[in-house]
């Protein structure tokens, strides 16, 4: 008996949910397959996207029509991501925003391709996604290859010529591949990579690594690490404590409010390239302030990138003057020098889905994160 009930229920659900309204292209429908829960949740921002959509709708929408936002949770799982991607397509989304990892993004882009629906990742910095989905896959943040190239230029300009790379294989491609992008850009400038040191995130003690760096015969004058917090802080603190005093360059993994405190005395050794900084008078600060007033909670820089994703979509729809997916997809590829929320300039034209963005170089001064300069690398390694 129970079996029959279960069966009937499942068929009934399929029927009920299957009768949802089909959406004609008379309004922009943004479908967002977001990592709302699970391990990837810090790198996605339903709140940032919702806030920007609320702002736009208050100001009259896009092309005079309110924007509809549908959010579905991927639970940080690749298969669920592709399933909810299909759900959003079935519900008539003209544009999709996707989760922060390529294993979820690539299948969504594949499902969206027959309808030419563009898929933009709010949080992913891995250029592998647009490479695998060149027709309709886009990053909203810079690619790791670009941030590494930015770090290389800053390091070279500061007079560094011999770098040692810190490599870890335990947090996705980020900490393993970004140093190699740095190496390519640094060598192109005329620098030299004198060693590679392995580590794992979660080490309470980086003395072994620091000793290994000290013992490299061809003495390095800097370290590059695409390392995440809190390890980033522990690493520079250890370097300071052992008296090595070698500068550490990195990318957005350092960008967390907890970094200066964990790094303590070593904080001053770090220089890193990140998406943007909410300084006084900046667009990012204004966005954060307005959203906080609206009751949203700003968790980190991905909140700003969420808003920026909507900004890119808005620019493309207005340029295409249409809610048609294929037209929007074409228009994204033409975006040039768009003023964003985290950054002053975003260019997709001829970038193969990985935008060229102005990036912010940060250091810790007097225990506070301080933007030093902005950088737009002249040469970026192929992904």
């Amino acid at each position: 008996m129970r079996l029959r009930d279960v069966l009937l229920t499942s068929i009934a659900i399929a029927g009920v949910v299957g009768s949802g309204p089909a959406n004609a292209a008379d309004q922009l429908v943004i479908g967002y397959a977001a990592a709302v829960t699970g391990g990837l949740a810090p790198y996605d921002s339903p709140d940032g996207v919702s806030c920007r959509v609320a702002q736009i709708n208050e100001a009259g929408g896009i092309l005079g029509k309110p924007v509809k936002l549908i959010i579905r949770d991927t639970k940080s799982d690749a298969v669920t991501a592709s399933n909810v991607g299909q759900d959003l397509i079935d519900q008539g989304a003209n544009v999709l925003l996707g989760p922060p990892t390529d294993d979820g993004l690539i299948p969504i882009a594949q499902l969206a391709l027959p309808k030419s629906i563009p898929v933009l990742s709010v949080g992913a910095t891995q250029p592998a996604f647009p490479v695998a989905s060149p027709e309709n896959g886009y990053l909203v943040p810079f690619g790791d290859n670009a941030s590494a190239a930015g770090a290389a230029e800053v390091a070279y300009k500061a007079g560094h010529r011999k770098a040692v790379l810190m490599i870890a294989n335990d947090v996705g491609a980020y900490s393993a591949v970004t140093p190699e992008y740095f190496a390519k850009a640094f060598e192109k400038l005329g620098g030299k990579i004198v060693g590679r040191v392995n580590y794992h995130h979660g080490l309470a003690d980086y003395n072994a690594q620091v000793t290994e760096i000290k013992n490299i015969a061809d003495k390095p004058d800097m370290i590059f690490a695409a390392i995440l917090v809190p390890d980033a802080g522990v690493l520079v603190r250890t370097i300071k404590a052992t008296g090595l005093d070698m500068p550490v360059f990195g990318t957005d993994g350092f960008d967390d409010p907890s970094f200066p405190e964990v790094a303590a005395g070593g904080a001053g050794l770090a220089t890193f390239v990140t998406h943007g900084f909410p300084g006084e008078g900046s667009a990012l600060k204004a966005f954060y302030d307005d959203c906080t007033k609206r009751g949203f909670k700003v968790q980190n820089i991905f909140f700003g990138l969420g808003g920026e994703a909507v900004e890119v979509v808005k620019a493309a729809v207005e340029k295409a003057n249409s809610f048609d997916s294929a037209a929007i997809n074409g228009a994204i590829k033409e975006i040039q020098d768009l003023k964003g929320i985290t950054t002053g300039s975003i260019t997709y034209k001829d970038r193969g889905g990985v935008p060229l963005k102005e990036m912010t170089v940060m250091q810790v001064k007097d225990g506070k994160m301080t933007p030093i300069e902005t950088v737009r690398p002249s040469w970026v390694a192929a992904p």
Binding site: S10, I13, A14, D77, N83
Partner: protein, 348 residues
């Protein structure tokens, strides 16, 4: 012999349920729900594979998803077109970067590799019982995961392998699921299955009766791995993109929960656990998105599915520690009930 006829009949009943779900999905469901049903079939095969070893040998298995991963990766590496391999797997060892196999060859090789690895691991594993054996299976899961994460040239490491041709259809998945039900059911009720279950209850008595426990355990282990290999192959050929995260703790515990809720000791438990958990997940997933029910707008409650998983397991442990189905197959329960009723009728 009549025993096996009975179990084939039982398998037919369970298979009919699966077939009905597949047919209903093909006829009525939108693409999204067809995807859900496909993934249900894959999970079902994995849960049945898990049941074959865990239910018969009585050893809790945490390593089953490792075989799913091995098969999924093998088939993906073999079947991916050379054009994509040039960018994605340019440095693949054994000359694999310049090779591209047909779909059936790839599937056959993937299952063969899975079975061979299962045989080698199993030969060592079957010497242990109870907790040490369970810990060994857990170690297997971690080892396979670490190898996939670090053999970057072959597997792309933590990055996803993409471009796997999406060839699997719902029909194939349903066919494999039904076949898995038959295989598992016939094994369970065969002489070997019976001996193995006897040994898991009383190892001394069983070996005194001449049961060759290690050999039977190995057979169950390899059969289980083969079924998980099928699940992995279907997964790879349906999603088209795989990464190491897909074959780790999340899926391990999801499939374990399905089996435990349904009942470890029967194939019916595996099927019913998978159905109940999938239906429950989809209902909670529908609710957590904040739908309007009967005119009332519900709030968004992301995370509800996780709560459902936890609550179901806790309730199940309290109310039905042996799972919804318990120790017997549903057709056995059915037959006993009708016999009881007939007997009761005689008395009155």
């Amino acid at each position: 012999m009549s025993n096996l006829v009975q179990s084939a009949k039982g398998a037919l009943l369970l298979g009919a349920i699966v077939a009905l779900i597949a047919v209903a999905a093909t006829l009525f469901a939108e693409p999204f729900y067809q995807r859900i049903v496909f993934i249900f079939m894959v999970n079902l095969i994995a849960v049945i594979g898990l049941q074959v070893f865990m239910g018969n040998a009585g050893i809790t298995n945490y390593g089953h998803i490792a075989f799913m991963g091995i098969a999924a990766y093998t088939v993906a590496i073999l079947v991916t077109p050379i054009a994509i391999k040039k960018t994605a797997l340019a440095n693949a060892p054994f000359g694999l970067a310049g090779m591209e196999f047909g779909i059936w060859t790839s599937v056959a090789i993937a299952l063969l590799v899975t079975v061979v690895i299962a045989f080698l691991v199993g030969s060592m594993l079957v010497r242990q019982t109870g907790t040490p054996a369970s810990i060994a299976t857990l170690a297997l899961l971690v080892i396979v995961h670490v190898v996939i994460m670090n053999w970057v040239d072959l597997t792309r490491g933590p990055r996803a392998i993409y471009g796997v041709p999406v060839k699997a259809t719902l029909g194939w998945a349903a066919f494999c699921a039904i076949a898995a039900i038959f295989v598992a059911r016939l094994f369970r009720d065969s002489r070997w299955g019976l001996q193995l279950r006897a040994a898991s209850e009383n190892i001394a008595a069983a070996s005194a009766m001449g049961v060759r426990i290690k050999r039977l355990r190995l057979a169950a282990w390899v059969l289980s791995a083969a079924l998980l290999g099928v699940a992995g192959v279907l997964f790879s050929l349906f999603v088209g993109t795989i990464s190491p995260r897909s074959f780790y703790f999340d899926l391990t515990f999801l499939t374990l929960a399905m089996l435990v809720v349904g009942g470890v000791y029967s194939v019916s438990g595996a099927v019913i656990g998978s159905v109940v958990m999938t239906v429950g997940f989809e209902i909670t997933r529908y609710l957590e998105n904040g739908p309007s029910l009967a005119g009332i707008k519900l709030p968004e409650m992301f995370g509800l599915t996780g709560v459902f998983l936890g609550v179901t397991i806790v309730l199940c442990m309290i109310l039905r520690p042996h799972g919804l189905v318990g120790g017997d197959e549903i057709d056995e329960i059915w037959r006993r009930r009708s016999q009881d009723r007939a007997a009761g009728g005689d008395v009155s």
